[in-house]
Amino acid sequence: QELKFAPGEDAKFNWKSYEDFKSAHGDLKGQSLTLFGPWRGEDEVLFNSVLAYFNAATGANGKYSSSENYEQQIVIDTQAGSPPNIAIIPQPGLLADLATKGFLTPLGQENADWIKTNYGSGEDWIRYGTYKGKDGKEAYFGFPFKADLKSLVWFVPENFEEAGYEVPKTMEDLIKLSDQIVEDGGVPWCIGLGSGGATGWPATDWVEDMMLRTSSAETYDKWVSNEIKFDDPAVVGAIEEFGKFARNDKYVAGGVAAVASTDFRDSPKGLFDIPPKCYMHHQASFVPSFFPADKELGVDADFFYLPTYASKPELGTPVLGAGTMFAITKDSPAAKAFVEFLKTPIAHEVWMAQASFLTPFKGAKTEAYANDTLRKQGELLTTATTFRFDASDMMPGKIGAGAFWTGMIDYVGGKDAKAVGGDIQKAWDGLK
Amino acid sequence: MTGVVLKDIRKSYGQVKVLHGIDLDIAQGEFVVFVGPSGCGKSTLLRMISGLETITGGEMLIDGQVVNDVPPSRRGIAMVFQSYALYPHMTVYDNMAFGMRIAKESKEEIDRRVRAAADILQLTPYLDRLPKALSGGQRQRVAIGRAICRDPKVFLFDEPLSNLDAALRVATRIEIARLKEQMPDTTMIYVTHDQVEAMTLADRIVVLSAGRIEQVGPPLELYERPKNLFVARFIGSPAMNIMPVTVKETGAVTTVSLVDGKSVIVPISTETGANGKSASFGVRPEDLTIATGEDYLFEGKVSIVEALGEVTLLYIEGLSAKEPIIAKLPGIIDVKRGDTMRFSADRQKLHLFDADGQTYRR
């Protein structure tokens, strides 16, 4: 495969890191490396463009593949004993599970140390890659590469301009703005929880963001580890905070009934309708790929940070995010070398320069970002005072990708927040 | 008057004309049998009377009413199908009761009529069986019973016995004859291939051929005075022996000459115009006897002898007709293949047909 950017040409890339890596690992000629991950479509093309640099540098034959049945496939493959060399895993919960079952090769302390020094909120990132192995000892398994930023609110600047709205700086302002929009005869929010088999998950992002804006990061961590119950007042409070938006008929496009059934992929399109269906949309950094094709980021659409309560300054500016972890499911020199490759700035910059890639890696040049919007997000990620990983992704699969989703659907459907929390907690108890 | 009247009834399937104008009056209480070769339209005609087949042209009256557009169930008919057509999933009782249940008769009435019919047909012990547990003859009786229960004005039978073995056939035939006696006012129309059935059952026989009526009349009339060659050959088994002849002399009696040159005098009057024309001379196998003197009809070589016990069939060759001449002689006769024999017959029982196959007999 051709290299997207010819080495050495563009100064915004760290070409030196590429050359260094090449000289250190040029001895893998013909070795094969299989990678299996969740990226399909455009993401797959982009990742392949990154992989091409690895292949070119080492002479190895790295092949990436993916599948719609990604989650089943990795379970089947690891259990049956024919895993890929490297599995790219978006959910820490799944990573933990694979680790406990002994399917993962630890990455070693030196990688953990490297993350600590080179990633923004490095300590947190290490935590999300460290789990008990089959032997019961904690070890570092998951190398984070490619992050998503969740605490974002998307809007159309021209619509704001025309109506004279300002980007809110505090949560109080945000609520005031929402009321203002309602008063002007508009609808402030588009919320869509539909996602076929995964319906409900966008609500978990809302709740997590609210959790970080109403409770401390430590409470959040306890929630993730179920040290506090799901029906703890802190959690119920966060759910109800989400309810302020999602369960307010005046606030959401189509009314509350539409929330659960609108597809999350269709939902942001409401921003661009004429007249606009809504003015704001809370969603992670990947969402522009669902904007209509001709919308230019930064001009036709932009985002702002989901603000915090002015009344709770002690919580700082927490950032909710997610990321994919690279884990070695079948060890080989090429697999080790690939982890080394991920430590080079160039591995990040190639993707950054194309689209939809954020990295907490401080060594990657921010100039490489394809546009300002991405750059702004990247900076949010590297400068966040508190970074927390998506809670639902870290909870056990049955909860984070099951009971939590279902609970949120029930909640939007009118069920009491406390009862919903209780249900989820019951499911969690059932796992023990 | 519950007769059936057919006025110029026609039927075509698309382009194919099957019936070419049938005119027939059937009186109330009459037993009429349709016979004819396979494919001549017997079943079609019967099915048109029943209403299962639409009428392409002409008019049909039952009981004095035009019924062309009346659905089957309202024509007051009952039909017995060739293949029984019993409902395989119902018991004999239910098979017979079905029509009445559909008509919402009372339970008692149904029971009364089913039992009466079962009684007539000696089916009472089988009322609770499914058709598959019955023998062929019993099944056919159930089919008849089902028809009786409908208490029809007109009873239609389509070759009801053709699926039965010989013994059952005889027994069931007698049953039908008895039935007719018990229901003197019911008109019965019966289709068959079988000679014997037609002869024994019918008040009148209708001989059909290729969608046309060839002759209508009482059985013996058809046997003794067939109107044409077709009827002559069709009625009687084995069929009438037909020999090509040339008319030699006409008048009150007619002289004809056989292929081998021998002359025969037939006591049928012909007009002079017939002189010298070719004709067909017919004699029934059972009317032939072994000639004792010189006064014989014809002679021939025996090619096959079939001794059936009660009668003996001789197949005689050498009279140049494609088929052998058959003689049916009573008892067991001691002849061998290859014997040459002479035969004579009662002159009154000879038949003569013109070149078009119409009888010379008036």
Partner: protein, 337 residues
Amino acid sequence: MLAQIASAMGVVVAGVFACALYYWLSDKLLSVALPVPEGDARKASANLNRRATIRPWLFLGPALLLLAVYLVYPVIATFILSFYDRSGGNFVGFANYRWAFFDAQFRQSIFNNILWLAVVPAACTFLGLVIAVLTDRIWWGNLAKSLIFMPMAISFVGASVIWKFIYEFRGGNETQIGLLNAIVRAIGGDPQVWISLPFWNNFFLMAILIWIQTGFAMVILSAALRGIPEETVEAAVIDGANGWQIFWKIMVPQIWGTIAVVWTTITILVLKVFDIVLTMTNGQWNTMVLANLMFDWMFRGGGDSGRSAVIALVIMAAVTPIMIWNIRQANRDMGDH
């Protein structure tokens, strides 16, 4: 490209050929091993009889082998796994069964499954029957059958997209892109979120499977209907039965055997169905069925092999009555041959 096609064709032909070769070779081998000498009549017939005892197993061999390896062995493995914990490493006795017994979601799934079993096979069979009867009577019946069969050819993913455009809900005064809601709106009703309407949403999911499977029932039943003797129907016409009565009292009872087979097949299919639920709701809004629950426990978040095994066994146990019925049927057939 040409080379790829050629090699693919080669592989296909070789594969099919190898399979056919087995039967041919094994039969040849049998005749060589047990020869039929011309002279020795006693030995010849003894060998022929021996061949006759061995041959059924040659014929059945590959099928039994495949069944044993691909189905029986996993079933046994599943059975064993049902006594182990989530990783399959530690014996836990009946804990998984106990869990299933008390699990609310499990109960919900059983309830929904019963609902599915009560509705879908009946609906498919009934609709298939009605359509088969009706289309047999019209000149464009074959075209109609093809149209109704078409959904069978659409993949489940395709099918769920299709139905998205039927059930989709848009709130407020927005234009509906789901047909059902557009119709409801057009006749003045309130649009509904069909797939989350409690209880009824099960039926909206079932509609999809019915839409797909009716073609199957129709094809098979239409073949059976042609076996009904025309005369029994005509006899009923003369007896005064109307179309409805003929259908119910004459035709249906006569093809009862085939109806049972269709019913069985669809019942089993329903027990296994999960693609539809997975893509439409993933069991949320109380639409969970056993197959989905099993899938969930097996794969979600790394999986729990013990509990999913228990659910799988419950699904398999559900066919026991059908199996017994079929053994009876098979034994009765034996009498015929």
